[in-house]
C-alpha cells in the first residue's frame, strides 16, 4: 500500500531574482497511513511552507507531492478544493475562524461546501463540538471565546468532515499550558481513531505525543528521530 503522503524533491521559491527566498530546497518526506508525525525546526526553516503544500493550500514551485499515491500537480483548482474539503483537516496557529459567526456555523462551514443537508450538518457539527468539549459554547462568536476555546472550535471544524489527514501548524503556539494539554489530548484521540496526524511544533513535550519526529533545516529534512 502506498503512503498517504509522499514528497519528492519539493522546492518552493518565493519571489524571483535577487530577492528570491528558497523556502524549500529539495525536500523529501514520506508519511504512512495512521502515523502521528511531528515536524520541528528553527523559525524560518520552511515548516509552514511545507505544511501548506501538504494541505493543498499552496503549490510547490517544483517537485512532486503525492497524496494517496496520486500526484496533486495533476489536479485542477476544483479538484484541489474537493481534496481540502474531504480529505484534509487543517488547524492553524492563528485559529482562522470566520469572524462574527457562531462556533456552530464555523464548524458547519466545510459541511456546507460538501453539500451536506442542513439537519445532518447541524448534528455532525454539534457532535464535533461535543468531541472537543464545547457543547455549551455552540452559539458563541469567536470574539466571545478564549484562545484555547477558539482553537478547539478550529479543530472541531477540521475533524467534522472525518478527513483521513489532520494537519496542524503550531496548534498550541498561541495557547497556555492547560489549553495546550486539552488540544493535544484531542489530537491524540484523533490519532488513536486511525487518522494520520501531522503537526508542527517548537516544544519537545508536544513533539513527544507523536510517534515520529522530523527536523527541517533550511528547507530540507535534516534528521529523522524516532
Amino acid at each position: 500500500m502506498s503512503p498517504v503522503i509522499e514528497c519528492r524533491n519539493l522546492r518552493k521559491t518565493y519571489g524571483s531574482g535577487d530577492t528570491a527566498v528558497h523556502a524549500l530546497r529539495g525536500l523529501d518526506l514520506t508519511v504512512e497511513k495512521g502515523e502521528y508525525l511531528a515536524i520541528m525546526g528553527a523559525s524560518g526553516s520552511g515548516k509552514s511552507t511545507l505544511l501548506n503544500i501538504l494541505g493543498c493550500l499552496d503549490v510547490p514551485t517544483s517537485g512532486q507531492y503525492l497524496l494517496d499515491g496520486i500526484d496533486t500537480g495533476e489536479f485542477d483548482e476544483e479538484q484541489l478544493s474537493l481534496l481540502r474539503n474531504r480529505k484534509i483537516g487543517f488547524v492553524f496557529q492563528s485559529f482562522n475562524l470566520v469572524p462574527r459567526t457562531t462556533a456552530l456555523a464555523n464548524v458547519e462551514l466545510p459541511l456546507v461546501y460538501a453539500g451536506v443537508r442542513r439537519a445532518q450538518r447541524r448534528d455532525r457539527a454539534l457532535a464535533a463540538l461535543d468531541l472537543v468539549g464545547l457543547k455549551d459554547r455552540t452559539h458563541h462568536r469567536p470574539n466571545e471565546l478564549s484562545g484555547g476555546q477558539q482553537q478547539r472550535v478550529a479543530i472541531a471544524r477540521a475533524l467534522v468532515t472525518s478527513p483521513a489527514i489532520v494537519l496542524a501548524d503550531e496548534p498550541t503556539g498561541n495557547l497556555d499550558t492547560d489549553s495546550s494539554r486539552e488540544v493535544m489530548g484531542i489530537l491524540d484521540r484523533l490519532h488513536a481513531s486511525g487518522r494520520t496526524v501531522v503537526l508542527i511544533t517548537h516544544e519537545d513535550d508536544v513533539a513527544a505525543h507523536a510517534t515520529r519526529t522530523v527536523r527541517v533545516v533550511d528547507g530540507a529534512v535534516a534528521e529523522v528521530m524516532v
Binding site: V59, N96, P110
Partner: protein, 396 residues
C-alpha cells in the same frame, strides 16, 4: 440546496454591514427612480402638448408673418387679408379670424395679475379654438365694430383676479384701461409648457386701439370646413395671399396646419425626453459604479474570510456565487425600491406637468439595475474567487 446555503452566506454578508448596504441600495434607488420619473415627466409633457394641439381641432391653419426675402419689404398681415380669405375664391375656408396678441397686466381692486396672453380677435375665434363658455357670454361682431371695451377671460385669470366672486359684469383695468368682463371660458388645463387658461380675449379693434396699435396681425387663424378640406384650404389661402402680397419667390408669411405644428412640437418634447432620460441613465450608471466600489471594498475587507472558506474546501464557483448574489441582491433591492419611489413620485404634478409612467421604462430600469449588479459585481467577485487560499489567508 447548495445555492440556498450560498445565498444565505450572501444575505449574512449584507446584513453584517447594514449602513454600507443601505447606502449602496440608496444609490441604485435614486438611479432607478430618476429614470422612471424623468421619462414619465417627458412623456407627460409630450402628451399634454399633443392634447392641447389636438384640442384646437384638426381643421385649423395658422397664418403668421415671416421675414421677407432680402431686398424686399414684408407686407404686414392685415385685417383686410383676413377678410379676403373668406369668400368665393376659397370654398374650403369656413372662418378666418385676425389675431393680435399683447402682454397685459390686469387689475381688479387691489389684485393684479400678469395675463399670459391678451388676444384681440373676432367672435369666430372662440369656435375656431374650441373654447366654450363657463359663465356669461361672448362678445359680438357689433362689439368688434364699435370697439367696445369688453373682454372674455380664461379660468386662471378669473380665479386670480376674482377669487370667490362672479367676474361677469365687473370692470377690470387692463394696462390701466377699463374693460368690462362679459364672460369666463371653461378651463382647458395646462398644456404642459404653458397655461392655456391664463388668457383674455377682447375685440380686435379694441385691442389694437388700446394695446397693440395698428401694425401687422400676429396671426390669422383659419378654420377649414372639415379636416378633409384642410389641404384645399391651405392651397386656397396660399393663392389668395400670394395674389394680395404679390409674391413671386419666398412668401412673407407662413401657413402651418395643426398637423405640422403637432409634429414640430412633438419633436421638441421628444428631444426633451431624451435629454431627461440621459441624465437619468447617468445617475443609474453612477449607482452601478457605487456597487462596484462597495463590492471591491467588501471583497478586500473579507479576503481572510475568503481564504478560510477556500481552506475548508469552498470551490471557486461558490465564492463567486456568494459575492455575485450579494451584488445582485443589493441592486435588485435598490431597483425594487427605486421602482416604487419612481411610480409614487409620478403621481404628483411636477413643474406643471402630470407625469405619465411608461411601463417599458419601469421594466428597463429594473432590468438594468439587476444587470448592473451582475456586471459590476462580477469583477470583484471573480477576483476574490481566483485567490489561492494561502494568499488570501496571509492578507492583512
Amino acid at each position: 440546496m447548495r445555492l440556498l446555503d450560498i445565498a444565505a452566506f450572501a444575505v449574512r454578508g449584507l446584513t453584517a454591514n447594514k449602513l454600507r448596504s443601505g447606502l449602496t441600495t440608496l444609490g441604485i434607488l435614486i438611479g432607478v427612480a430618476s429614470v422612471i420619473l424623468l421619462i414619465a415627466v417627458g412623456n407627460g409633457a409630450s402628451s399634454a402638448v399633443q392634447q392641447s394641439i389636438a384640442g384646437l381641432g384638426t381643421n385649423i391653419l395658422t397664418v403668421s408673418p415671416q421675414r421677407a426675402q432680402p431686398g424686399l419689404t414684408a407686407k404686414p398681415l392685415t385685417t383686410a387679408d383676413a377678410a379676403a380669405l373668406v369668400g368665393e375664391d376659397s370654398p374650403a375656408v369656413k372662418y378666418a379670424s385676425p389675431v393680435v396678441s399683447a402682454q397685459a397686466t390686469a387689475a381688479y381692486g387691489d389684485t393684479t395679475h400678469d395675463i399670459g396672453q391678451f388676444i384681440g380677435s373676432d367672435p369666430n375665434y372662440f369656435d375656431t379654438t374650441n373654447s366654450s363658455l363657463a359663465q356669461g357670454g361672448l362678445f359680438s361682431a357689433d362689439d368688434v365694430q364699435q370697439a367696445r371695451k369688453v373682454v372674455v377671460i380664461g379660468s386662471t385669470v378669473a380665479t386670480q383676479l376674482f377669487p370667490g366672486t362672479d367676474p361677469v359684469g365687473k370692470s377690470v383695468l387692463v394696462n390701466n384701461i377699463p374693460f368690462t368682463v362679459v364672460g369666463v371660458l371653461a378651463a382647458k388645463g395646462s398644456s404642459g409648457l404653458q397655461d392655456a387658461d391664463d388668457l383674455a380675449v377682447a375685440p380686435l379693434t379694441t385691442t389694437q386701439n388700446a394695446l397693440t396699435g395698428y401694425g401687422s396681425l400676429s396671426q390669422i387663424v383659419v378654420q377649414a370646413r372639415s379636416a378633409e378640406a384642410l389641404p384645399d384650404a391651405q392651397a386656397q389661402v396660399t393663392t389668395i395671399l400670394n395674389g394680395r402680397h404679390k409674391i413671386t419667390g419666398t412668401a412673407d408669411y407662413r401657413v402651418v396646419s395643426q398637423d405640422q405644428l403637432l409634429t414640430a412640437r412633438t419633436a421638441t418634447t421628444e428631444t426633451f425626453t431624451v435629454l431627461l432620460a440621459s441624465v437619468a441613465a447617468i445617475s443609474l450608471l453612477v449607482g452601478g459604479i457605487g456597487i462596484t466600489n462597495i463590492m471591491l471594498v467588501t471583497v478586500t475587507e473579507r479576503i481572510r474570510e475568503i481564504g478560510i472558506r477556500k481552506a475548508v474546501g469552498a470551490p471557486r464557483s461558490s465564492i463567486l456565487g456568494q459575492f455575485l448574489i450579494e451584488a445582485t441582491l443589493l441592486s435588485l433591492f435598490g431597483g425594487a425600491l427605486g421602482v416604487a419611489a419612481g411610480v409614487i413620485g409620478s403621481q404628483f404634478t411636477i413643474a406643471g406637468i402630470q407625469p405619465v409612467v411608461d411601463p417599458s421604462s419601469v421594466l428597463l430600469a429594473f432590468a438594468v439595475s439587476a444587470l448592473i449588479g451582475l456586471f459590476f459585481g462580477s469583477y470583484p467577485a471573480s477576483r476574490a474567487a481566483r485567490l489561492r487560499p494561502i494568499e488570501a489567508l496571509r492578507h492583512e
